[in-house]
């Protein structure tokens, strides 16, 4: 029999005791486990280490777990993510699920239940991998193109068709557009955009966000001085909306 490669699990948890306990148990189950104590390093390791599953805490220093989740979902709809949080209210669970988490367990959790759910999530993920998608392209699950006003965005080709003609979008522009579309009609703060879109925190670089907004308005607004789609909200951030 061919030796099966160990499945990798990334644990993003700032409480060292819990993180180590999880690592211990998962390692005993035969998984390869890595612990990161905050959101920024979690995103970093997700890209570098390519885990098969992520266990995520919500209350983390720096970028919180929900932002980490959103950030990952902008690029990868498939990787199984399980939230493990002390927040057990229905509202919190619904919020997590609406951002695209696969499973949500409240702390204190049952060890056996957690292990079984993880096993199940990994099995399901392996089915996807077998059934097609052998071309390796991670498709943006729901729609390939998105239309608003006279603009159309093709996410597969990273091209925008707008009043200025055809524009090739950069990777970062695509990420931000996906973020705005996913949050249509809801205000997003600059720091949130920065956390989800770029994966870092701090108030210094919020200018970067503004620069991108200037660019989007140039692409998509009829009159960039009087934006209709990408509006700014004073002392809050930005809101994307259309009919």
């Amino acid at each position: 029999m061919k030796k099966v490669e160990k499945k990798r699990i990334l644990v993003v948890e700032d409480e060292s005791h819990i993180a180590e306990g999880l690592k211990l148990n998962l390692a005993l189950q035969g998984y390869d486990v890595m612990i990161t104590p905050d959101g920024v390093s979690g995103l970093d390791q997700w890209k570098k280490w390519q885990p098969d599953l992520i266990i995520l805490d919500i209350m983390l220093p720096g970028i919180d777990g929900l932002s980490v989740l959103q950030s990952i979902r902008l690029e990868n709809e498939r990787i199984p993510i399980l939230i493990l949080s002390a927040k057990s209210a229905i509202d919190d669970k619904v919020k997590g699920l609406s951002y695209g988490v696969d499973d949500y367990l409240a702390k204190p959790f049952d060890l056996e239940e957690l292990l079984l759910r993880i096993e199940r999530l990994l099995t399901q993920a392996s089915w996807y991998r077998k059934n097609g998608d052998s071309n390796g392209i991670e498709s943006f699950s729901s729609e390939r193109t998105y239309t608003f006003g006279g603009n159309r965005i093709d996410f597969e080709l990273s091209v925008a068709y707008c009043k200025r003609g055809e524009i090739c979008l950069t990777e970062q522009e695509v990420r931000l557009l996906k973020l705005f579309i996913a949050n249509k009609g809801k205000p997003i703060s600059r720091s949130k955009i920065l956390g989800i879109g770029w994966g870092y925190t701090g108030s210094m670089a919020t200018r970067t966000v503004d620069n991108f907004m200037v660019r989007f308005r140039k692409y998509f607004e009829v009159d960039p001085k009087k934006p209709v789609y990408f509006k700014s909200l004073r002392s809050v951030g930005y809101i994307f909306d259309h009919d």
Binding site: E15, E20, T201
Partner: protein, 321 residues
């Protein structure tokens, strides 16, 4: 629940309701007076027409009516204002409590989660003695954290319901502080703690031992907890100022932002934001400290030159010498 408050329409906002009702009241006052004047001039004309000598009488009445109306409207206005202020306070308290529940849920659930995790792991697997000891150590720490949190809540409840248990006794404060430091030296292992008393005398004072210990515990663990220096340092200085005894706790910790100095004593207040967990703990410690100082007829004042510059907490007690 919180979202229900923030997401309501702007015209339901208490400030707008307050402004609307004030404007409505003012308008109605003007209208009352206007109509009254109109009616009274009408009456006057009627009186003149029929040659009745009521003009004098009406003149003096007008001012009395306006005065009474204004006073009544003024009282209603004050009433609205008081209700408005109370309402604002309630909302503020609600937010604080929400913050507290959020923080405390986390503080209580984290050690419980860890304990449960390790206990279940132990039931499932066998470990070597060394591993066992390591994980048991974690569990002991978690139990410590849990009981510390439970104690804080219970202490607050006791102080707020004014059940202190033990009697007040007269002891020397300096030796009480020194005794406290030796009793708890396991908490301050890496720290330099010095007491200074330039007057060279003793400070007999009536205190409740368990409460005073709680005050010292909170002030001193804060000095160490919010401290990034390699060697945390606490200087405890006893000084007498006109009929007052000042006990200064000076540390070399992270300091306090100017804008936060007044807020840190509020119940449930946590420096740092609640959502990103730079805030840890219950937000009760300094609130307890302030309450305990009040029970001892004194108060606690915080000073700091800003972030990174250490902070000073001064316990001020009335003292005759």
């Amino acid at each position: 629940m919180e979202q229900a408050i923030t997401r309501t329409k702007w015209f339901f906002h208490p400030i707008f309701i307050f402004i609307f009702s004030t404007v409505a009241l003012a308008t109605s006052l003007i209208l009352y007076i206007y109509w009254y004047m109109e009616v009274s001039t009408g009456l006057k004309e009627v009186a003149q027409k029929f040659n009745l000598d009521h003009g004098q009488l009406l003149e003096s009445e007008t001012w009395v009516v306006i005065l009474i109306l204004s006073i009544l409207v003024g009282i209603i206005l004050i009433g609205i204002f008081i209700i408005f202020v109370y309402n604002q306070k309630t909302i503020q308290l609600y937010r604080l409590q929400h913050n507290f529940i959020n923080n405390f849920t986390h503080e209580l659930k984290t050690p419980v989660t860890s304990l449960k995790l390790y206990l279940e792991t132990f039931m499932k697997h066998e470990f070597s003695r060394d591993d066992q000891k390591k994980y048991l150590d974690y569990m002991v720490q978690d139990v410590g954290r849990l009981s510390e949190n439970i104690n804080r809540i219970l202490n607050l409840a006791r102080i707020e319901s004014k059940i202190y248990g033990e009697e007040f006794v007269i002891v020397d404060l300096l030796s009480t502080v020194e005794q406290f430091i030796t009793d708890n030296d396991h908490l301050f292992q890496n720290c330099i703690i010095n007491t200074h008393n330039s007057s060279g005398r003793s400070f007999p004072y009536r205190i409740n031992m368990s409460l005073f210990d709680m005050l010292l515990m909170n002030l001193m663990t804060n000095a160490v907890k919010y401290n990034k220096s390699e060697k945390p340092r606490i200087d405890i200085i006893f000084k007498l100022y006109h009929r007052r005894l000042h006990i200064r706790f000076e540390d070399n910790g992270i300091g306090i932002e100017k804008t936060e100095i007044k807020k840190i004593f509020k119940k449930f207040y946590q420096s740092g934001r609640a959502d990103d967990m730079t805030a840890r703990g219950s937000g009760l410690g300094l609130h307890l400290v302030q309450n305990i100082a009040r029970i001892h007829k004194g108060k606690v004042v915080a000073q700091s030159n800003g972030r990174g510059k250490g902070s000073v907490f001064t316990v001020m007690l009335p003292f005759k010498f």
